[in-house]
């Protein structure tokens, strides 16, 4: 049974009529056509579907639409800001490009969202920033890079902020 769902997505208020049992992932991809959020496993293991829910990273394949009522969702499409007509990428998006942290790219949106959150919340800090990044991003699987270039990108972006 569909119900009205009011939530904020990437800073905009949205009103949808959907079943509250549907996965947030599907609502984002199918109803809102925000296809940057990817499905890699559907069981919360790979992290490709990571979005922020009220500022905290979640696997959107494990969140029901009904749980998002009145809450704020940020997807990869919401990381960059607009400055006039220009798109200003988030520091971690820029760093992922500059450091070679994206290869096939299917895990990249989830990693960018999670890493952006960690950087913005000041979590990437201390003497062992690399080790910290490895803990913070342990829920996001990448099969291409071996992680090293992503770690370097995130640490660099954290320093650049």
């Amino acid at each position: 049974v569909s119900e009205e769902l009011v939530l904020e997505v990437n800073g905009e208020a949205r009103t949808l009529v959907v079943s509250p049992w549907r996965r947030l992932l599907d609502v984002l991809r199918e109803d809102l056509r925000l296809t940057g959020t990817k499905e890699g496993c559907g069981e919360g293991e790979c992290g490709a579907c990571t979005v922020l829910l009220d500022g905290q990273p979640v696997n959107s394949c494990l969140v029901a639409a009904g749980q998002c009522a009145g809450r704020a969702v940020v997807t990869v499409e919401g990381l960059a800001r607009k400055d006039g007509g220009a798109e200003i990428l988030h520091a971690v998006q820029r760093a992922l490009i500059d450091h070679g942290g994206a290869q096939c790219g299917i895990c990249t949106p989830g990693i960018a969202v999670c890493a952006a959150h960690c950087i913005d919340a000041g979590l990437v800090a201390g003497s062992d920033a690399r080790g910290r990044v490895r803990e913070l991003l342990a829920g996001n699987i990448c099969r291409c890079t071996g992680y090293q270039l992503i770690v370097e990108a995130v640490v660099a972006a954290a320093g650049a902020k």
């Binding site: 991809r29 925000l34 296809t35 940057g36 959020t37 990817k38 499905e39 890699g40 496993c41 559907g42 069981e43 293991e45 790979c46 490709a48 997807t75 990869v76 499409e77 990381l79 960059a80 798109e87 990428l89 998006q93 820029r94 992922l96 490009i97 500059d98 450091h99 070679g100 994206a102 290869q103 096939c104 790219g105 299917i106 895990c107 990249t108 949106p109 960018a112 690399r130 990044v133 490895r134 803990e135 991003l137 342990a138 829920g139 996001n140 699987i141 990448c142 099969r143 291409c144 890079t145 071996g146 992680y147 090293q148 270039l149 992503i150 770690v151």
Partner: protein, 746 residues
Amino acid sequence: MELSEPVGEAVGRSLPRVDGVAKVTGRARYLDDVDAAGAWHGVTVRSTVAHADLDALELDPAFDWSQVVVVTAADIAAGGGKNLVALLEDDQPALVPVGGRIRHVDEAVALVAAPTRALAFAAAAAVRQRVTPRPAVLSIDDALAAVTVLHGADNVFKRFMIRKGHGDDAGLDAAFAAAARVVEGEYHTGAQEQMYIEPQAMLAWWDGATARVTGSMQCPFYVHKAMKALLGCEADGVVVSQTVTGGGFGGKEEYPSVIAAHAVLLARKAGRPVKILYDRDEDIAATTKRHPARVRHRLALDARGTPLAMDIDVVMDGGAYVTLSPVVLSRGVLHAAGPYKCPVVRIVGRVMATNHPPHGAFRGFGAPQTTFAYERQIDEAARMCGVDPLVYRRRHALRSGDTTATDQELTWSVGSDAVLDAVERVAGPPPVRDGTAAGGAALRRGRGLAFYFHGAGFTGSGEQRLAGRVTVALVADRDDGFRIEVRSSSTDIGQGAITTFTQIAAAAFGVDGSRVTVVDPSTEKVPDSGPTVASRTCMVVGALVERATRALRGRVDAAGGDPAALVAGGELVEHAQYEPPPGIHFDDATYTGAAYPVFGWAACLVDVAVDLDTGEVAIERCVHAVDVGKAINPVVVRGQIEGGTVQALGWALIEKIVYRDGKVANASMTNCIVPTFADTPELETLLVEVPYPYGPHGAKGVGEIPMDGPAAAVANAVGDALGCRFDAIPIAPEDVLAARPRWRLA
């Protein structure tokens, strides 16, 4: 405009990926992101037994079939095609026909499509199979015993033999009789899932009489060939194109022909586009994996420890159909003696038919299995002789002028000393033996080394037979006057092919990379440059891109040097086709000669800490030196090496496929695990460049070699830590603890 000298500042620099912005913003469109209005969802009905006769398919009469299309094997012949997945042999059906034989669990027996995915899944569950089970062959030993025969007289899909330095088995025995000591071992390596993060996905529709297929794939022309046979059409009867592909690693080499076949059959019957997306569990359960292997290796040494002879027996589990198994085995045996001088070598290889889902292409392609065996053997030899493992390897490594097991004389680009030197320079002292884990458990540390080579490009005469082609065009551009367009069927699957080709073409034409476009591969728009496999894209196809682009530049120079003026009347094109380097000949009948035009070389050093309470192995350090000839884009090359390294570390320690009655018992990412950020050490990657005269700017293949050796380095390190042998991977904590009676911690 002024063109610069065509030597190119674009090469050797880590320019940002051409597709970088699209990927970090989520705008890159993978198959499931493509807007396919009106497309139905296809779902595969799969077998539940490993070996059986399929007696009947029944549609549950209680189910409402009015909105569902069902396809069976009968629809294929009715459409004028052949029920097969054309590859090397014609043994694999696209769908098991009623009256035919089910040969593995999760084999496709029927297809359904419906307007929603949920309805399609419900319909698939309402297709009943009546089967008569047969005895199944579910191990290499059972296949060799041949009590149940699945293929030929003895279950052997393919057999190879290599002999060097002796005429017959008596000659081999004589060489072993002269040995002061013999190192022996039996090595087991398991199946491995590619675990690309984008599951297999394909969309098909019919445009009049033309079938159109698009999706996630490495090799558009493999799919094209398979569709021609399936549909019984000519080359122009089907168009295949690649969407942005979320990883492949071999898993999207041959398998996409299966899912493409299913989508195209459903689309024809449904009269509308049909999309098939595999769920992760389906993808793990049904698609190809690395061949499990058993390698028996005997190494004869003289009194000083010098190798006199090797006797190697390689057996792989091919699964239910031939697929690419003969080629995987070929690469396996061709690498089985390793990069070591040895006058007498016998290598026997067999790949067996079983009732497992077919094993297939995975990065390394047979070489990681045989590399694991010889690098364990060489480590044992060094230990037995009391020689430092690095010194032993250096002493016996192949160098220029030496011959491989196939009597190939190495003439150029031999990086053995360079990679060993690179590792030695940074190695430092071995790790402190004993330590304490955070939780208080005792730790025991060890160090392991591996040294290996990997033939780049197709085996033997493969590149000549394929004769890959590339087109480079000078095309008019409204804003900038002209552009360079690179057309090939080589796909970017994350490895950076688009960026690498852009840099090669930009350098060869003498322009900035922003003027180069690498077109998306579609069989109606690009020539067949061959499949995206075998560490060949940069080295072989990149060389063609360079040659064609230089020829184009030559024409521009001859015509006065103004590309924009020259192209005003229409595009200018140059084609390039593969030609072998001089002196490269391989004899397929005797398996002698130049198996590969050139080899990449690598050395890997691993330090581990073993938790003596839990048996857990942590990799504390991983140094990997790889000779790549020339890094066109060093960051792209690092990405290739590091990604392959971690896949190899995972294969060594945690990646395991559990088959139960022929079915993958751990078909989910929860229990079929791969390394995470937290499992992976800081990687020390050393790029070594010993140029290959026939590669673009000296480049040679890099895609696969990093997969070959790290697993042996890990096993050698665990062995060093605990003082006993580890000859099978993965080395799970329970394996470490089970070996406790053999530990020698003194």
